[in-house]
C-alpha cells in the first residue's frame, strides 16, 4: 500500500421503513421484505404512485427520545437520528474539531417551498442550513459540507470523506445521506415518465421505471495505518461524467465505465463478490450499466440491485446500499435482486432473485445520475488482498 493510510468504517446506521438500525434493515432485506406500497391521492397528487415511505409518527417518537423535537423538520429529524445512532456505537466526541460532518442529499427540505408550509423559517430550504441543524445539535464546530450530485451523492460523499481523511485535516468523518419524498419529487419524476406504478423490476425484461423511497443512512470513517481482517476499508473511488446528456445516461456507459475502471485499479475481478449496481429499473439506466460493466471487463462478476426493497432513496442510496453490501459480505451472502425475473439488458450480467453464497471479501458500489454523473467505489474487508 506504499504506507498510504487506509480509510476504515467505524460504525453505521440505516433508518428506513424496514427498520431503525442496520441490523433490522439487513435482516428484512435478506428475508425479501419491502415496504413499497401503492399510494393513491397522497399529497393531493393526481396520479397514484408506488413508494417506500416512513411511518412519520414512529420517527417522531424515536427522535423525541433524543430531544430531537418539533423545532426540526422531518428531514432534519431523519439525518440527526441516523447520525446519533451511528455515533452512539463509538467513543467519538462529536464536539471535537477533528470530526467533520458531510451530508449527501438532493432535495433536503424542499417541501418548505410549498406555500402551505408555514411551520419553519424558509431559509431552512437551503441545504447548508439544514446540515447546520445537524452539526449544531451535536455541537460540532466545523462547517458541514453538503454534497448534492443528484443520485450519485451518497458515493460522492464517501469519496469526499476519504479525501478529507487522507489529507489529514480530520480524524473522523460522519457521512450522512438522506432524502424524504414529497409532492415536489414525486410529481417531477412522474413528469419524466420515470416512475413505475408497480413495484420496480431492476434489470428485468418487463421493467417500466423506478419507485421512490424515504431513508437516512450514516457511515462513519476514520484513517488507520494498519487494519485487521474484519475492518471494512473504502479502497478507491472515482466520479466520472458521460459528457453526453443532462437527463439521459450515455448509451455506451461512458462515465460508469470510466469510474469502474478507476475503482477497480489493479484488483483482479476474481476477488470481487459482486457489483452493487444503481439498478433503478428504468429502461435506459439498467441497459447503460450492463454495457459499462461489460466494457470494464466485469461481466463475470455477479451484479445485484436493492431498489426493489427500498425504491430509489436518492441522497441516501449510495450510503444505504454500501452499508447493506458490507453486511451481506459479513454474512457470506450476495443479496437477491428483488423484482428481477428475466434478463432484460443486452449485455449479459450475472443476476439472481435469490440470495447466493459467497466467500469473497470485496465489492463495488456503482451509481449514476442526472447531469451525466457516475460514481464507483471499491470496498474490501480487511483491505485489498
Amino acid at each position: 500500500m506504499g504506507g498510504k493510510p487506509m480509510i476504515v468504517r467505524v460504525s453505521d446506521n440505516i433508518i428506513s421503513p424496514l427498520g431503525m438500525t442496520t441490523a433490522e434493515n439487513y435482516v428484512a432485506v435478506k428475508a425479501g421484505r419491502s415496504e413499497l406500497k401503492r399510494h393513491d391521492g397522497l399529497w393531493q397528487l393526481p396520479e397514484p404512485f408506488t413508494a417506500s415511505l416512513m411511518n412519520r409518527e414512529a420517527v417522531n417518537e424515536k427522535a423525541a427520545q433524543l430531544q430531537i423535537d418539533d423545532r426540526y423538520t422531518f428531514f432534519e429529524k431523519m439525518i440527526i437520528l441516523s447520525a446519533a445512532k451511528a455515533l452512539e456505537q463509538t467513543d467519538i466526541d462529536p464536539t471535537s474539531d477533528s470530526v467533520l460532518f458531510i451530508l449527501s442529499t438532493t432535495k433536503g427540505n424542499v417541501f418548505l417551498l410549498d406555500k402551505n408550509e408555514t411551520g419553519f423559517p424558509r431559509e431552512r430550504v437551503l441545504l447548508g442550513y439544514a446540515a447546520k441543524q445537524m452539526t449544531d445539535y451535536f455541537h460540532n464546530p466545523n462547517t458541514p459540507i453538503v454534497v448534492s450530485n443528484a443520485c450519485i451523492s451518497g458515493v460522492c460523499a464517501q469519496i469526499q470523506a476519504m479525501r478529507e481523511l487522507e489529507s489529514g485535516r480530520f480524524d473522523y468523518v460522519v457521512t450522512v445521506g438522506a432524502d424524504v419524498q414529497s409532492a415536489f419529487i414525486v410529481s417531477g419524476f412522474q413528469s419524466f415518465k420515470a416512475l413505475s406504478v408497480d413495484c420496480c423490476k431492476p434489470f428485468d425484461a418487463n421493467r417500466t421505471g423506478l419507485n421512490l423511497g424515504d431513508a437516512a443512512a450514516t457511515l462513519i470513517y476514520t484513517r488507520k495505518d494498519e487494519v485487521n481482517e474484519n475492518d471494512w476499508v473504502a479502497c478507491r473511488g472515482a466520479i466520472r461524467n458521460d459528457a453526453n446528456h443532462i437527463s439521459g445516461p450515455s448509451r455506451t456507459g461512458e462515465g460508469s465505465y470510466r469510474a469502474l475502471k478507476v475503482a477497480l485499479g489493479d484488483t483482479n475481478p476474481d476477488k470481487i463478490a459482486f457489483i452493487n449496481a444503481h439498478g433503478t429499473a428504468t429502461l435506459y439506466n439498467d441497459e447503460m450499466e450492463s454495457f459499462a460493466i461489460e466494457r470494464a471487463g466485469l461481466s463475470c462478476v455477479p451484479v445485484n440491485g436493492l431498489k426493489g426493497y427500498y425504491g430509489h432513496t436518492m441522497g441516501a442510496a449510495g450510503i444505504l446500499e454500501s452499508i447493506l453490501s458490507m453486511q451481506a459480505i459479513d454474512d457470506h451472502n450476495i443479496l437477491a435482486t428483488r423484482g428481477y425475473e428475466t434478463i432484460g439488458v443486452m449485455h449479459p450480467l450475472v443476476l439472481s432473485n435469490q440470495n447466493q453464497p459467497t466467500e469473497k471479501r470485496a465489492f463495488i458500489k456503482l451509481l449514476s445520475g442526472f447531469g451525466g454523473c457516475n460514481a464507483a467505489l471499491l470496498f474490501a474487508k480487511g483491505g485489498e488482498a
Binding site: Q44, P46, T106, K107, G108, V110, L113, D114, K115, V125, L126, L127, G128, Y129, A131, K132, T143, P144, I145, V146, V147, S148, N149, A150, C156, Q160, M162, R163, E164, E166, S167, R169, A183, F184, S187, G188, F189, Q190, S191, F192, K193, A238, I239, R240, N241, D242, A243, N244, H245, I246, S247, E254, G255, R258, V262, G369, F370, G371, G372, C373
Partner: protein, 184 residues
Amino acid sequence: MTKHEVYITPNEVSIDGKVLIHNKNGAAMLTELYRAYVGDYPKFFKMDTLSKLGFVASELLLHSEGAERFVPREDRAVVFFNRSASLQADTAYQATIQDPENFFPSPAAFVYTLPNIVTGEIAIRNKYFGETSFIVLPENNPQIMARELQNVFLDPMTTSVLGGWLDCTDENHFEANIFLILKS
C-alpha cells in the same frame, strides 16, 4: 496553482482582474455575453440561470486559457460550490405544482432542480469525462473551498480543476467566481 479567474455579478464582469465592458445587466447580460463570446451553442437558451451563469463563466475562463477546445479528456474536473443549490429552478418548478387546479409539472423545469446539472452542461460542451461535483455550504467560505479544491487532486487522473463559487437565487441575483487550477 491558479491560472485564470472569472468574476461575474449581475452588473460586473472581469477576467483575470480586467473588467469586461457590457451593456445589459442580470440574466440579459448573460445572454449578451453568450452572443458576444460564444454564439454557436443554442442549448444555452434552454438552461436555467445557474447553468447559463456557469456556462458563460466557463467559456470566458477557457477563452483566456487559450488551449485547444473540445478535445475529449478525463483529466479535468468541474467542481462548483454555492449556498443556494438550485433554488431558482426549485422555486420555478414549485410554481408548476402549487395549485392542484392548475397542475402542470414540466420535465424541462424539473431537470434543473439539481445543482450539479451545470457541471454536466460544461462537461457536455467540452467533452470532459472527468470528475464533476457540486458542493453546498451554509455560506461562501474561501478557505473551505480551497481545501476541497485541493482534495480534488487526490483523484489519480485529475490534473486540473475548473471550479469555484457559483450561486444564483434569481435572474437578478447571482455571483460566479471561478478559477482554472492546475495540479502543483
